[in-house]
Amino acid sequence: MSANVRPPTRDGHVLLLLDSEPRRRRFVADWVSTGLDRDEKVFYLRPDEEHPHESLAAQLAEYDLDITPALADGRIELLPVEAFYPSSGWRGQVERALAEGFPAVRMSGEARTTRTHLTAEQHLAVEAEVERLSRELPLSALCQYDGRRVRGPALDEAVVHHPMGVHETLLRTHLDDATLRLEGEVDHTNSRWLAALLRQACAEVGDRGTLTVDLGDLAFLDVSGYRSLLLGSAAFRQSGGLLRLLRPRRRVTSLLSTLFVHYEEGIDLVESGT
């Protein structure tokens, strides 16, 4: 372990949902690199055996990340699918790595690799366990779904299991301490899952609580996105919860005020400087 190690921090349990392979690889390279910089242990689901040329090292080397030394000294461990999903769950793996002196643990893999190994129900059970562990232990998990294939209710379900963060081509979200930060753009292509995510975030805040949605980095919001904000928080607001929309940019403010968001029950619009 290096002497000037950064304090262990967590990216949390994050859903990566990109529709471009180069973008996915770039994101994974950054994510792995961050872990190595922090001296964290990285467990990675070995890429599909049918595509050996797609080794992780080769993928990340395209983005100037050489993981060969980390593979050699065990900071990165590539696990076959059976070992990546042990029947005893992930707690043991994480605790062993922490006992070895790693300040935190990262785990990631492509969901397509698991399709032949786990049923959909088993996969969701793993997601639920990882979500629990990531809140309890210094564990960051990056779940890579194919944004070109996962749609509709399946996508809603995937999002609900990753309330801490979703990284999609158009929109990135991060939930921390009752604040949901939105960065990018919301339109008809992603508003549906935003509503699902918002419902989950509201549920975590609980009845009569306040959920802040930080819009400061949201460059575009269309009507379907507004609809998601309204419908995704409807039950929460009806139960006495408050949805605080924080510091929207000018063009988002324009949409919100045209739609009279300030008249909606349980919504508080806090513009910049106020």
Partner: protein, 325 residues
Amino acid sequence: MTVVSESRYVHDALFYDSTESLVQTAMPFLSDGIGAGDDVILVCGEENNAALRKALGHDAQVSVLPREEVYRRAPSAVESYRRLMRRRVADGVGRVRLVAEVDFGRVSSQWQEWGRFEAVCNVVLDPYPLWSICAYDTTALSADVLAVGERTHPYVRRGDRRSRNGRFLDPAEFMALSAANTTRGPAPSDPVLSLPDVTDLPIAREVVRDALSGIPSAQTWQDDFLLAINEVITNAVAHGRPPVGVELWATEDGAVCDVTDRGPGFADPFAGYHAPEGVEGARACLGLWMARQLSDELTTSRSARGFTVRLVLNDRSSGRRRLPL
């Protein structure tokens, strides 16, 4: 005098040929309202507002609203009146009496749009205790505009006579006729953007944004117009049939955008005029409502190419962020 329901919208047209005749015809209506404890509002031209105000006496409780603000865009004006009535009802006001003069503009497309405004008011404002008189100056307005007044008001007033209007058309019928007769100027010849087959909404939006930013006058309105275009493209992609085409032209006054798909389009002549409200409203035609709010004209047509929604943005209306009432 015809018995008037106190709980529903009553919509009269008043035809006058001088300020004096307007005052003479409108005064009993306004005085009765004040006597009955109704809220009285004037939204006329400056000279007529002043004359009516003077005739009522300066102690009279009358609100005067800025006509040029209220009548900037037809869908916004409908929404302004609806919001005003909601607030008045919530405040316990029994009935509102209004004398107003629509600004029909000088070009054909403008007065046709304001004609639709008059028809739509009959539907959207129907649940509210509003009695309005729309004043038409027979010496200044064209025969076409005066005909619009006759076809969109269930009651007409001339001199001291108020009567049921035999020429009144059912609002849906008026809207259908208006759509069929709408004069659409030819699109300017060279589009600044032509997308024959939109399949990716974010990419299309990015391309439209770039094209709008290349229009010199667009700085003050490009965000709003982009949102309007985005909503219409979204509707076409989600509910229409491919291919979805987009063409954008720069004009002297702003921009024109056509969005065409192969589907049948929407049939409801009032689509996008009913204001969305609360959770239920959010499920309805919110995108079209928004597109109407953020553009000066939204018209539809059917051709061999399919169903086209045309959005027009004029500089003169840009820059407004909130409804005036």
